[in-house]
């Protein structure tokens, strides 16, 4: 399979503290990768390096086989779309206008939004079930709806890769499933590569093709959920003892913390 995101010996420092150390990995096009790890293990930092918000101190990142340093901002936004954490919007935009912002990388300075852009926006909003919300203000919808609006905006960028930073951390269980189901569906139907950081190990197990487990800025393991989610890995990385449970052989493992 083709590698859509290739990371080679990446290191990153904030001031003098090493956050990421010698990260090397390849993400296959069309796969669903979850990045797991305790707080401070470098999940978000890694994600920000991949979308060029942070620049690595050492190593290189290839996006679609091109060095990320050599890709223009608009060009990169046509390949990678990002759904950021903490989606607090203080300005008053309609849902439709927010989603339309995703067309930015395709529009020239003096070009206005055309029929084709409107169609793309409409499709993205329909496939994320927010078309009915189009005239509402971004401030008057719920957290789960807002997350879907931002995913719809990401879709209008027509990306090959969708990066999400803790997309479900402040949502209730119904919305958590809804958002991850949506990501999975986009992953399957449109062959969009999904890379997401997650806190919830069981959700990661349920949805991911691959899990990247980070431990203090290093890769502990990157493989299928069955291989990464072991009692030993979780105890070593998170410092808690867990039981692994599988209801049947076809199902992904889930973890339950042991009693105190």
């Amino acid at each position: 399979m083709k590698s859509i995101v290739g990371i080679n010996k990446l290191s990153f420092k904030y001031d003098k503290a090493d956050i990421l150390k010698h990260i090397s990995l390849d993400v296959e096009q069309g796969s669903f990768l979850s990045i797991l790890g305790p707080n401070g293990s470098g999940k978000t930092t890694l994600l920000k390096n991949v979308c060029n918000l942070l620049k690595p101190h050492n190593g290189s990142i290839l996006i679609d086989e091109k060095d990320i340093e050599k890709i223009k901002y608009k060009e990169l936004a046509q390949i990678i779309a990002v759904v950021h954490q903490g989606t607090d919007v203080q300005f008053d935009f309609s849902v439709f206008d927010v989603v339309m912002m995703g067309r930015f990388p395709y529009l020239k300075r003096f070009q206005s939004e055309g029929k084709e852009d409107v169609e793309i926006v409409e499709n993205a909003m329909k496939s994320t079930s927010i078309w009915e919300l189009r005239e509402k203000s971004i401030n008057e919808i719920s957290g789960g709806e807002r997350q879907r609006v931002l995913i719809a905006r990401a879709l209008t960028q027509q990306p090959k890769v969708l990066l999400l930073d803790e997309p479900i951390s402040h949502l209730d269980i119904k919305y958590q499933i809804e958002i991850l189901d949506l990501c999975k569906r986009l992953n399957k139907e449109q062959n969009i590569t999904v890379i997401t950081t997650l806190h919830d190990i069981n959700m990661a197990s349920r949805y991911s093709d691959y899990i990247l487990l980070l431990e203090e800025g290093r890769i502990r393991e990157m493989d299928t959920p069955e291989k990464v989610l072991t009692e030993k890995n979780i105890e070593d990385v998170y410092g808690i003892k867990v039981d692994l449970i599988k209801r049947n052989d076809n199902e992904r493992p889930i973890i339950i913390p042991k009693n105190m």
Binding site: N52, L53, Y73, A77, Q90, D92, F93, D97, Q157
Partner: protein
């Protein structure tokens, strides 16, 4: 299909009509009342192809002079300055994501006042071709101050908007104390300095308009092409970058262009507060945060607001002219407070 243009065109058109009306209406007002129809005739007569069709009989020579050489330049200058200040305010509020940002946050006003004070103390009121040396010093002071503030807030190739705000405040108070000091040692010029800092269009002339017209129009058109970038930036700088906006470059370009416009405005009019703060807020409360409409509307709206304020400034008291800066606050303040109360805090950025 220009989806958005269609939606916005009507609103902008209505505002332009309003502006035209206020300009014409304002010309009729003053110590000498000039009938509305005469005003229209006098102006249309200046368009060569129409002059043969217009009957200028019965219109006093003195009235023609008042309209063309006193009131019209003054009102047009007010339009230009109002447009620039309110456009700059809108852009700054977006870039700084701060509702208190106005055209003077980067120290333009105190820099200009400092330059103007020096000009006044050195009796530079002669000037070249009608464009006073005091204005030139004010312009230089404004640009120099912004340049210093900008570089103080710059770390490597990045500029922190919080540092700009802080550096702007500190530079402003430094310069203000400098001005105060100069005022203490030069009691005689006190009134002149104070009235400059309150802003006025008294003494406006065509030269001033000609000088600032090109930078004003070019700068304004240029800034309004950044609407989509500003929309993305107010969602958050990281989000904007991931949407494909070169955030650092955009911030730089907008800050430089906007400061230049503000310096132009201040150098011909003195410091007119409030326009660049409330006109943007007013339209944001009414129309929402979409800069594709907000930028053009604040250009026209700022002009309307300042024409009204300046008209009041020169007509409200018989024979005495009130500094227009006072009027902008008196008119704008309560109206703004009313809107604030009515709409609540949440929509204000």
């Amino acid at each position: 299909m220009n989806l958005y243009r269609k939606m916005y065109r009507t609103k902008i058109f209505i505002l332009l009509l309003l502006l035209l009306f206020f300009i014409l209406f304002s010309i009729t007002l003053g110590d000498v009342k000039i009938p509305f129809t005469d005003t229209v005739k006098i102006i249309l007569n200046k368009f060569g192809f129409l002059s043969s069709k217009i009957d200028m009989g019965g219109i006093k020579k003195s009235n023609i002079f008042i309209v063309l050489n006193i009131r019209l330049p003054r009102i047009l200058l007010a339009c230009l300055v109002g447009s620039m200040l309110s456009l700059v305010g809108t852009s700054y509020q977006a870039i700084f994501k701060n509702p208190m940002a106005d055209p003077f946050v980067m120290g333009v006003s105190s820099g200009a006042a400092f330059g103007a004070t020096i000009g006044i103390l050195l009796h530079f009121n002669k000037g070249i071709i009608g464009f006073g040396l005091t204005s030139i010093l004010a312009f230089g002071g404004a640009l120099l101050t912004t340049f210093i503030v900008y570089n103080l807030a710059r770390v490597g190739s990045k500029i922190s908007t919080t540092s700009i705000l802080l550096a702007g405040i500190v530079m402003s108070s430094l310069l203000s104390s400098g001005i105060s000091l100069m005022m203490i040692f030069n009691h005689d010029e006190l009134a002149k300095i104070i009235s400059w800092t309150l802003g006025s269009f008294n003494g406006a002339n065509w030269t001033q308009i000609v000088v600032i017209l090109i930078p004003a129009v070019v700068g304004t058109l240029f800034l309004t092409t950044f609407a989509r970038e500003l929309n993305a930036i107010v969602m958050g700088e990281e989000q904007a970058q991931n949407l494909g906006v070169n955030v650092e470059r955009t911030k730089k370009v907008i800050l430089i262009t906007a400061s230049f416009l503000a310096a132009c405005a201040v150098s011909v009019s003195g410091i007119i507060g409030f326009v660049g703060l409330i006109v943007p807020h007013l339209f944001r409360l009414i129309l929402g945060s979409d800069h594709r409409i907000l930028l053009p509307v604040s250009v026209v709206g700022g002009a309307i607001f300042l024409v009204i304020c300046d008209t009041l400034a020169r007509t409200i008291l018989n024979g005495i002219e009130i500094p227009v800066g006072i009027i902008t606050s008196i008119c704008g303040g309560p109206f703004f407070l009313y809107l604030l109360k009515r709409n609540g805090r949440k929509k204000l950025i």
